[in-house]
């Protein structure tokens, strides 16, 4: 057992899989010589060689397409995007080619697209985005959103071994987050032996009987903080980390709704068109009779991501917005 940071966990998972399976290779900008913008692949080129850790020219569409081609021809490439925001360069390759290829009977596309996602203080409109709303409705894709080092390691292995295109969202904020500052539930021990975390299985971070708070990604921090505050006010909030955005653990959502009757869905992505809308609709369709209050959603406001700190603070769904929503739900 050990404690790794989120970054170390991702690195370790990729390293171990590259040792296990020769068909795994890495491509991306600045990953070889430079070890990557976030140093996830530091030391990899020395160990695995220039053939398997390849520095790409600045052409996301081109090298995503190439990764897909290589996957068609028996390889298991892992593409690093420097920031999730740049995935839009490859939108067509992912959505129009990779997503539908297996459905069109043209074979699996076992690629992993690593996407450093979400805000990082004042990173601005093009280094802070959450890409999942853009891809959520495309069939054939899987979207992983690990929040802990344990999940990051296990889910990276699942992603690499999965025969489908996987968008693996890495929450930049967590890369170097000091373990000591994390709530205990977000730093489970990491086994030494090989393990995987399956897609489509949520995790209950905190049990409670009054309100269900469903979230994923960076906002697990706000969720737990808000739940503590409500606890001191006598309201017990159940916090659930979805861990994967697609496939998602529908039963976890429905079961907790049945338990409490009051639901708040929270994510850092903007509220409009965010995945919370899908979860809320599912609850309305399948657990309507168990609702004691309208379903609430909290997300970023519907603007591009602003840079200046006071603006960004309003943009992001901070703990106080979550607390306000929880209190309103509790009083309803």
């Amino acid at each position: 057992m050990s404690h790794l940071t989120y970054r170390e966990a991702i690195s370790a998972a990729i390293w171990e899989e590259m040792e296990r399976d020769e068909s795994v290779f890495l491509l991306g900008e600045d990953i070889g010589l430079g070890g990557g913008a976030f140093y996830i692949t530091k030391g990899f080129q020395e160990r695995f060689g220039r053939e398997r850790v390849v520095d790409m020219p600045l052409s996301e569409a081109g090298f995503t397409g190439a990764a897909i081609g290589a996957a068609l021809n028996g390889m298991r490439p892992i593409v690093e995007f420097q920031f999730a925001d740049f995935v839009t360069e490859s939108f067509k390759m992912i959505v129009d080619f990779a997503g539908g290829n297996h459905y069109r009977q043209m074979g699996p596309v076992p690629i992993v697209l690593r996407l450093p996602s979400a805000s990082l203080t004042s990173a601005g409109p093009f280094h802070s985005q959450n890409p999942e709303p853009w891809f959520f409705s495309t069939p054939g894709l899987k979207i992983a959103a690990p929040t802990t080092a344990y999940d990051a390691k296990g889910m990276m292995k699942t992603a690499i071994r999965d025969n489908n295109p996987v968008l693996y969202l890495e929450y930049k904020k967590f890369y170097s987050y000091p373990l000591g500052d994390l709530p205990e539930v977000l730093r489970p021990d990491i086994p030494d032996e090989d393990y995987t975390v399956p897609f489509g299985k949520a995790r209950v971070l905190r049990k409670g009987g009054d309100i269900s708070l469903i979230t994923f990604g960076t906002t697990v921090l706000e969720a737990l903080e808000a739940a503590d505050i409500l606890d001191s006010e006598g309201v017990q909030v159940e916090v659930i980390d979805m861990r994967t955005i697609f496939p998602f653990d529908k039963n976890a959502i429905l079961n907790t709704t049945r338990k409490t009757g009051k639901l708040l869905i929270l994510h850092e992505a903007r509220k409009r068109g965010g995945v919370a809308g899908e979860f809320a609709s599912i609850v309305a369709e399948e657990a309507f009779e168990f609702l004691d209050a309208p379903i609430r959603r909290v997300g970023a406001i519907d603007t591009p991501v602003p840079m200046s700190p006071p603006l960004e603070k309003v943009y992001l769904p901070g703990t106080e917005r979550v607390v306000d929503a929880l209190r309103e739900l509790a009083a309803y």
């Binding site: 052409s59 290589a70 021809n73 390889m75 539908g100 009977q105």
Partner: protein, 371 residues
């Protein structure tokens, strides 16, 4: 593809706008100035290496079969058997067959929508192609796609998507896998004159060149991109000039000359297999029919000039003439080959029409690959 069902409108194109039909002649003059830039020009007069008789007949059959299959599909469309639309590559038969015939069995072909000949040269059974067009479950995509978005996995042929340019990086990736695994195999892909404007083509070619991938890229310059002429498509004198820009060798050839294409493409593939990196081949042909079955070609093209071209340079006719002129085969054998091609095409159509449609229950299958 661009709007498949759009009616053409506007004034007819005048003869002055059709200077591209003399493209050939102009280029021959320009050749003298681009010689130094490592782009090689091969004229129709230059003798190509003629393979043995059997190979010639095989290529003849494939070229004829390509024409026969597309004509059969065309008439099938007019009989209502094809849901959706269809694109054909009339005028591109020699170029496609000859190039793809240089591929080895285990190598990948990444074709575009006017490379029927390439499918056939690679061994894609005609009944499979037709079943696909007819939307039947037995087609390679089980009815999930149609038109020339057809691949064939047993023969390592990829299925293209409508977004033009996409396949060049994909082809680069396929070639890349061969390189990583050290198989010594190459890959072959195509892009149109219009398609060559897409950003992905730049990215794919650059990547292939910088990583020295074993890929041959053929630009099927048939001088029309739907209703857009070459002068609106690019400003450089010739698309082959992009090759030195990427750092790869480029060839500009008459694409209606099957054996010339076979030589140039064969050499390029050999170089790729030997690890010398990618090659660009610009193959000049003419799009002898409209963009799609819905396109009213005569609305924007001078049919007189077009027919003149076809008289002089129809690839099927040219190969017939070549074989006869060089006394490689007899006229009877040529006639037999054409007849056989037509019969095989019709037989494939009849068989394909018997294949059932996919069941409605299957619509949600296979969105995801299993573990």
């Amino acid at each position: 593809m661009n709007n498949q069902h759009e009616e053409s409108s506007g004034a007819p194109v005048t003869k002055d706008d059709l200077s591209h039909l003399d493209y050939f002649k102009d280029l021959k003059e320009r050749y003298l100035s681009i010689k130094d830039l490592d782009a090689r020009w091969h004229s129709i007069e230059e003798p190509a290496i003629t393979p043995d008789r059997d190979t010639c007949m095989h290529i003849h059959y494939l070229i004829s079969l390509t024409r026969a299959i597309e004509e059969t599909l065309d008439s099938s469309f007019r009989s209502g058997h094809i849901p959706g639309t269809a694109f054909f590559g009339r005028g591109n038969e020699a170029s496609s067959v000859a190039s793809a015939s240089c591929l080895h069995e285990e190598e990948w072909l990444i074709p575009m929508h006017r490379n029927c000949g390439a499918h056939l040269a690679k061994g894609h059974p005609p009944v499979s192609i037709m079943s696909h067009f007819f939307g039947r479950a037995a087609g390679p995509s089980a009815g999930r796609d149609g038109n020339f978005h057809v691949g064939y996995r047993p023969k390592k042929i990829t299925q293209l998507i409508s977004h033009i340019g996409t396949m060049v990086p994909i082809a680069a990736g396929i070639a890349w896998a061969e390189k990583i695994r050290g198989t010594g195999r190459a890959a072959l892909t195509y892009i149109g004159d219009g398609g060559s404007s897409a950003g992905d083509v730049h990215e794919g070619m650059n990547l292939a060149a910088v990583q020295k991938l074993p890929l041959v890229i053929i630009i099927d310059n048939n001088q029309f991109a739907y209703k857009t002429l070459l002068k609106d498509q690019f400003a450089c004198k010739s698309l082959v000039l992009r090759a030195p820009g990427y750092g790869m060798p480029g060839y500009l050839i008459d694409g209606t000359n099957a054996l010339l294409m076979r030589k140039i493409c064969g050499d390029a593939l050999e170089r790729a297999r030997a690890g010398e990196g990618p090659t660009l081949i610009e193959s000049i042909t003419i799009r002898a029919a409209g963009h799609s079955v819905y396109d009213k070609f005569s609305d924007y093209a001078d049919m007189e000039e077009l027919n003149k071209w076809n008289e002089e340079r129809d690839p099927v006719k040219r190969f017939d003439e070549y074989l006869l002129a060089n006394e490689i085969v007899s006229e009877d054998e040529i006639g037999t080959s054409h007849t056989r091609a037509r019969q095989d095409a019709e037989a494939a159509r009849d068989e394909a029409l018997k294949n059932p449609f996919p069941s409605p229950e299957s619509v949600e299958d296979d969105v995801y690959a299993p573990d």
